[in-house]
Amino acid sequence: MSNTEAMDVRVEERDGAVLVVPTGDVDLHSSPTMRERLRKAAAGKPLRLIVDLSAVPYMDSSGVATLIEAMQISRRQQTLLVLCGLQDRVRSMFQIAKLEQVFRIVPTADEAMKA
């Protein structure tokens, strides 16, 4: 399996927003797949880019780095990036990395549509 096949990432459009839904652990093996999907999703310059992490039980710093990169791209093109559905271990990672205040984080995808 190559890095670009290391995880499933669903991308869908919803009411003008783009919703990215990765499934599985995000680590150095799988984060290139998420990075590629996020870049493609952001390339259309949507008004809102939502990353639903409810199906991600684990994330390491490579996953966090991927989300920081997506945030930087989003800011440059005035896309609003919203994270939602963080499980406890993933939220803990954001706390350890002192990034909870850097991202816009809400509980659910529905709330992300209104954030």
């Binding site: 399996m1 890095n3 290391a6 652990d25 680590d27 150095l28 093996h29 684990y58 390491d60 710093s61 490579s62 966090v64 780095a65 991927t66 920081i68 990169e69 930087q72 406890d88 271990r89 803990s92 990672m93 706390q95 350890i96 990395a97 002192k98 990034l99 850097v102």
Partner: protein, 164 residues
């Protein structure tokens, strides 16, 4: 293990299971697994420059004092180039950019993180210790009670400057 990212999940699982057996709860065991993951990622990215045919050894052992298990000791060794020890540190946390967090994360979730040069001018050795709460661990809820223990200065992480 070989220096391939696909083996990270197995290494995390082994570290987490060992921590559970040593008496850590699920939350703390998850943090031990995270520290192992970050340590191995440093070796893969910076030590071996993502070459996937290189060896890495991981040793998990109970930390024993007065004939009682008081925590776990994890030793990770490689045959990568040796980085000056003073350059192994986290980036400044307020500098929001991808990469450079691995050492900070390890220091936040473990009681002790020590990098050494292996004998013979080749390879690094990382020794990490996490004590049980009953044995005086200073790690609480995934963050050190006294705040960040990592050197909050721009610099290098792992074997060389981290940029991924």
């Amino acid at each position: 293990m070989l220096s391939q990212p696909r083996y990270l999940s197995s290494a995390r699982a082994a570290a987490s299971a060992f921590a559970r057996q040593a008496g850590f709860d699920e939350h703390a065991s998850g943090h031990v697994a995270l520290a192992v993951d970050e340590a191995l990622c440093n070796v893969l990215k910076h030590g071996y420059d993502r070459r996937e045919d290189q060896p890495i050894w991981m040793d998990l052992s109970p930390l024993i004092e007065h004939q009682a298990v008081v925590g776990i000791r994890i030793v990770i060794e490689d045959e990568a180039k040796q980085a000056p020890l003073e350059t192994i540190r986290s980036r400044a946390l307020e500098e929001i950019r991808p990469g450079g967090l691995g050492v900070h994360i390890m220091r936040e979730v473990m009681d002790s993180v020590e990098f050494e040069h292996r004998e013979g001018n080749v390879g690094m050795r990382l020794v990490m210790i996490r004590r049980l709460p009953s044995a005086g661990s200073r790690v609480k809820y995934g963050a050190n009670q006294n705040g960040s223990a990592a050197a909050a200065q721009p610099g290098q992480e792992g074997h060389k400057a981290a940029s991924t």
